[in-house]
């Protein structure tokens, strides 16, 4: 697992870790059962406070992406839905808002945007849309 963090960022370090692991899970770079470095190990590798890593792992566990197995370590969890449909829709809309406004500013047609989006989805999920 590759994680890089930057100081001088508007994104706190723990949030950078959460985002990168989340991305690696959704893109399939990390799959169910893969083990992650321990809190101590990742903190050492990144030269950051271990509590920062612990906070990131805790959030990912709460969201159901990671699970801790007693005495064995931290693993990528089986995919399961932990949010209600309404909450998932709300989060999707939030992501779409950001994406759509940035895409439109770049002056692409609706069709071009949709085409790029569906090929990205294919690439990320390996499922032809």
């Amino acid at each position: 697992m590759q994680i890089q963090i930057a100081t001088h960022s508007a994104t706190p370090i723990f949030r950078q870790i959460v985002d990168q692991i989340r991305r690696q899970v959704t893109s399939g770079q990390l799959t169910m059962g893969d083990s992650l470095p321990s809190v101590r190990q990742l903190a050492k590798d990144l030269v950051i406070n271990p509590n920062t890593v612990a906070k990131a792992y805790a959030e990912l566990q709460r969201d159901g992406l990671l699970e801790s197995q007693q005495g064995r370590g931290i693993f990528v969890a089986k995919k399961r839905t932990i949010y209600t449909k309404a909450e998932r829709t709300r989060r999707l809309d939030e992501a779409i808002d950001r994406f759509a406004s940035e895409a439109l500013v770049l002056d692409f047609s609706h069709e071009e945007i949709l085409n790029r989006l569906s090929s990205k989805l294919e690439q990320l999920t390996h499922e032809p849309g």
Partner: protein
């Protein structure tokens, strides 16, 4: 004193002639944490540290360190505290290995392996003479000497000053190693805000002798918000924005930083009648600088470890 705190101060105050350098300092360093003490030069950081460690008598107030009154520390209390001063003083005629032998003969508990592993991390040869070393390497030897005496608490006054990037990384690694995931305590004063962001659990910001912020680093970040405001006049001068920290002029706008924003903040911003006002993302460094840049002293969120205890 709360036994969960390695250091705690009670209204600690110090005047130099008529000038108050540290004023009514109520501050705590919880055991097992790494706390960053931030502030401009002359804000009173070193003076506060010297009083906490009993090297300077307070004009008023008191402080405790590892459960003992700072002003009555016995030698057996002092060996539990590692203190590295600004500038990393070492005897120039010694070789690095002599510094190790000197430490071994001086301290009752001495970890020789630890000394050599820290020195190695800073890339220093053990037969090198202290007077040949770079500033970063001297910092390494000084830190190795302090940490190898196996203290429970490490107090470092601006250890990163003038260090090269490799030595700074070695310093960060050494401090995280020493803290050992919360087994031992570190208080570090520094201007290197990106190092502080990496390694600290908590921060305290001193401005003109007073602590304005004392909380967890993440909490600090989440409680400060900023807006980019286009306006012909300084929105900070309106006197209407609750929790205002600082208003900074940029080319076409003002960056306004606010602590604990709420409904009242939003409606105050709305009533400014500015050309535009949008929320802006800021970095840890910008948030700290906002505090340091403001000259005004006023109240702020002081959710310190001491306040909570």
């Amino acid at each position: 004193m709360n036994p969960d705190n390695a250091i705690q101060t009670f209204g600690l105050t110090r005047y130099f002639s008529k000038r108050p350098v540290v004023q009514e300092l109520d501050f705590a360093v919880p055991r097992g944490s790494i706390v960053g003490l931030l502030g401009l030069n002359g804000a009173g950081k070193s003076t506060a540290i010297k009083m906490m460690l009993g090297f300077l008598t307070p004009t008023r107030g008191s402080s405790q360190v590892l459960g003992c009154n700072s002003q009555a520390l016995k030698p057996e209390d002092r060996v539990r505290i590692g203190y590295a001063v600004e500038g990393h003083f070492l005897y120039p005629w010694m070789r690095v290995q002599d510094c190790e032998a000197f430490g071994r003969d001086t301290f009752p508990r001495w970890n020789r392996e630890n000394f050599y592993s820290i020195v190695d991390r800073f890339g220093i040869g053990t037969t090198q003479k202290v007077s040949w070393l770079s500033r970063g390497q001297r910092a390494g030897v000084s830190l190795a000497s302090t940490i190898s005496s196996d203290p429970e608490l490490l107090v470092l006054d601006d250890p990163a000053l003038g260090l090269d990037p490799v030595s700074r990384r070695a310093l960060n690694e050494t401090l995280l190693d020493f803290n050992d995931s919360g087994a031992r305590t570190v208080l570090i004063s520094s201007h290197m805000l990106d190092d502080i962001e990496r390694i600290c659990d908590r921060i305290a910001i001193m401005v003109a002798g007073q602590v304005l912020v004392d909380c967890k680093l993440d909490e600090f970040r989440s409680r400060i918000a900023a807006w980019s405001i286009e306006s012909s006049t300084d929105p900070g001068l309106s006197g209407q924005i609750p929790g205002l920290i600082h208003s900074h002029r940029r080319t076409h706008s003002w960056l306004v930083t606010v602590a604990n924003p709420n409904e009242a903040t939003l409606s105050a911003l709305d009533q400014l009648g500015a050309v535009s006002c949008e929320s802006a993302e800021i970095t840890f460094e910008e948030a700290v600088i906002a505090y340091l840049a403001r000259s005004r002293r006023s109240d702020t969120f002081l959710t310190g470890a001491r306040a909570a205890s």
